[in-house]
């Protein structure tokens, strides 16, 4: 709170300290929504620029981290909304690595296996491509609830949406993603 007050009064070093403390968290959180580092950087930059101009609205009732996470969520949602959405992802769009990853993860047992770092990155990339076929709201909700294990209440707090909207959005987003993945898997033989 003291840091926030000092920064609000124009103390640049106080704001620099806020950035130093919370930028790793902001980067990690924004990184859940974007595949390219440049976009993560852009989001984080916007977060701190907005935080600086809105320091007056931070009353110190909640944690600074929570306040910044809410700003990050809104910035990321806006960036997702402004980015181009892919119409559909088909098998022919996948790289060889991605196709190979899908082949190896068709069975339930394989899906539970620990992934190597390299294969994990292939999966993360593929996930990003599948998510890009969904709306910004769908991407946000799936990333938070199914990816980050956030609760419905957490998402309500972060987005300001109603609980019923979050539940319905999650249900629909899950269905769309499942259908998109199912389309990719169709025609492929399970390795079991």
């Amino acid at each position: 709170m003291n840091l926030a007050r000092a920064a609000r009064e124009g103390d640049e070093s106080a704001f620099e300290e806020i950035m130093r403390r919370y930028s790793p968290r902001v980067f990690r959180f924004a990184g859940k929504f974007f595949r390219q580092r440049s976009l993560v950087e852009e989001a984080a930059q916007e977060v701190f620029l907005k935080a600086f101009t809105e320091l007056g609205s931070y009353e110190g009732r909640g944690s600074m981290e929570g306040w910044l996470t809410r700003i990050t969520t809104n910035i990321c949602l806006n960036l997702l909304r402004s980015s181009k959405r892919r119409p559909e992802l088909t098998l022919s769009d996948l790289t060889e690595d991605e196709t190979h990853w899908l082949d190896n993860n068709l069975t339930e047992a394989a899906a539970e296996q620990h992934q190597s770092t390299e294969r994990g990155l292939v999966a993360a990339d593929l996930a990003g491509r599948v998510l890009q076929t969904l709306s910004a709201d769908d991407q946000l909700i799936l990333t938070l609830i199914d990816g980050e294990d956030a609760s419905v209440k957490d998402v309500v707090q972060l987005t300001g949406w109603s609980e019923s909207k979050v539940k319905i959005q999650a249900f629909r987003a899950r269905r769309k993603m499942r259908k998109g993945v199912e389309k990719l898997l169709t025609g492929r033989k399970s390795p079991r």
Binding site: E12, F15, E16, M19, R20, S23, P24, F27, R28, A30, G31, K32, R37, V40, E41, A44, Q45, F48, L49, F52, L102, N105, L106, T107, E108, A111, Q115, G120, L121, A123, A124, L126, A127, G128, V130, L131, L142, T143, I145, D146, G147, E148, D149, F171, R174, R175, M177, R178, K179, V181, E182, L185, T186, S190
Partner: protein
Amino acid sequence: MRDEHIINLIEHTPLANLSEADLNRIRVHTGACSECHSAFQAAQVSRLLLKERAAVEFEPSPFFHTRVLAMLRERQARNETWALGRMWRSAGALASSMAAAVVLLAVFTFVVPENQVASQQVSSLVNSYSAEEVILDQTSPLEEVSDGQMLTTIYDGDEEPSK
């Protein structure tokens, strides 16, 4: 028949939150239903993809803070310039309204009174039958009256009361 499918179950709840009883129900059902089997398989792959996506972490670059601070300073400087520009614009409006007021005052002070004098002169010219004009104006047509006529006029005026 549709109610027995497990598709709704896997879409309503994240797979990680399903109870053991739900998972057993799913396993039993997917063993017999190919449609639900492929849906469940896709849901599992989706979950795995999202988990892998969430596992990717980014760290701030070493110059991130410096860059943001520089952007803040630039933004503040731009705002100050903008504020100065706005002040200048409003001052300009004030100055031009003051200049307009001065011009109006000058018009009322110098141009309007001259017009009034001129109009007074015009009105006196138009009113040529005043006594002063008749007596003093030597250029009037009275000059053309002959002396005889003048005398007749004077004597006629003197004789009238005796009648």
